[in-house]
Symmetry: C2
Subunit: 330 residues, 2 copies
Amino acid sequence: MLTGRQEKLLKLIVENYIKTVKPVSSKALSSKLKCSSATIRNEMAALENFGFIEKTHTSSGRVPSDLGYRYYVDNIMVPRELNGEDMLKLKQIFSNNALVLSDAINKSMEIVSELTNYTAIVLGSSSNDNRIAKIEVVPIADNKMIAIIITDKGHVENRNVSIPNNVSKAEVKQTIDIISKLIVGVPLNEVSSVLEFEVKPVIDRYVKEHEALYNAFYSAFSDFTPKPNMKMSGTTNLLMSPEFDDASKIRKILNKFEDKEMIKHIKEDDDEIKIYIGSENNIDDDISVIKTYFYKDGEEGTIALIGPKRMEYDKAEALLNFIKENIGNE
Amino acid sequence: MLTGRQEKLLKLIVENYIKTVKPVSSKALSSKLKCSSATIRNEMAALENFGFIEKTHTSSGRVPSDLGYRYYVDNIMVPRELNGEDMLKLKQIFSNNALVLSDAINKSMEIVSELTNYTAIVLGSSSNDNRIAKIEVVPIADNKMIAIIITDKGHVENRNVSIPNNVSKAEVKQTIDIISKLIVGVPLNEVSSVLEFEVKPVIDRYVKEHEALYNAFYSAFSDFTPKPNMKMSGTTNLLMSPEFDDASKIRKILNKFEDKEMIKHIKEDDDEIKIYIGSENNIDDDISVIKTYFYKDGEEGTIALIGPKRMEYDKAEALLNFIKENIGNE
DNA sequence: AATTAGCACTTCTATTCCATGAATGCTATT
DNA sequence: AATAGCATTCATGGAATAGAAGTGCTAATT
């Protein structure tokens, strides 16, 4: 276990490094820890033995290790109060009633990325307990219609439907009625199978041009499984940090960001706010990720902030926490 | 005017530089231009006098200048045939009837960014001649509704509406009916003023809680002026080019990409495919932009490719051209 | 008159060497 | 247990150097 002084020293090293991005020397801290640099060097040696700090070369100052950040986050850091101005900006977004929840989340994370200079990610989807509440079909040309699907949680999606030439308006209406009757109340992820096993037989039986019509609507309606959609804000913020000072490092991260797989790495299913430092996250050893899960009104997803390992964990946590509270849970 | 040989030489320099990203030496071309390096040096001096090529330092090989690229694009480059495989990939997207036009365009430009390794941008919006075809309002909670607006061109938008507590269902229905009756057929950009000057008086007259209800719907419907929306694909592709080999250059471009103003720079209103080389574009001197305008079925916008100045202009043009043809015009 | 061979000259690039400074670890002292 | 003092290590930046890759120009050649 760390002594009080060691803990204090680790705190100083972490916070100093977060601020300056330069290895911290014993001399620089001697005034703050009212003892000599030699004493600090001894304590530093101890912290290094524990694996909490590292040297970049034999005679360099110390830099927090992943483990050091971890200890800092878990045992030293005190939750930060959100500054009033920032709070106001975010509050305004959530109090705007015209905004759909997902838009409010996206907008607020955009603000957060500006406030922190980190990269914000919202990974959201309408959850599986969205059920179809209504289907509306609007003709827009002779053989073209727009099908609109509305869920009971207020999700709206629309698709093109091309109507084959040889079918009558009456048949189209008949088909829509059948689909509508059978599909209202069905959860999104079951739409496809309900169409196939319940709707198709009925259409086959009662509608003349059943094959062509069923296919037209099936291709429009079949892919309603909630698809996760990811929004990033301030993508480049992270790359402006001085530790990403050469092209290859920047490119490495940019490649990760473009990678379709990243979506999986970001996903979080724990309700608490989690912090993944350096090697703890699956994206890149040089960054940290702080994220949390949300669920509200049939929308679920993950919000995350990606920053350098020397991110201001306390501030990041306070911001995510505030947004989480504003989303509210159900 | 350039002699035949000078033109040939410029072509070789440009194409060589595009391929190798290294200044082109006289020696390297002597075999291809069946004459000695000394002769080529003389011709190079002439081309440099015209301003078509440049040296990076006194004893370096030559690099095309913006003017040189311009001459190449205008007078030397021959339109490229699209390769069959690429063509097929793109064709498939446009032949998928379930896709809305704007989605097809987005998807195809995504492919293009992969095929070229440049950054693709789609800047689109539903044009002003979209008229409201139908309004649908679906309740999803006691005091919450989803308003859905469908245009005659098949555009769909939806908004939240919060219903004040003290109004009856009948009143809500009455309000919706009034709005619906007066607003169908109105072009999107006039919705706001029609609401204010035609709908409001009627609601004021016939609906009891007119103020609260009008406000609720107005805030949902008022911002229907077609808002341009921008989609970028392969944002990082451009930055992988070897000419962007240091952090500050990459950051410079990334900053441009994040800049909200960029949307204005990309916008194009000429129907032809236009190429803006280096200083000719308003984004950055180190890049080139090739773009064109499209209009179809009430959707309009710009598609653009951003690449290094040494982009394969012929290929880029062929791709944009192909997509333009597939969008079709009206 | 156009082309070419030949050569001096310029600049970039990579390497080495060196001096400096900022740290450290360790030992001896308080 | 804390500190002063000192040798040691390594990063950093500048200067010097050698080599390579080009060019421009002149004089010879076609």
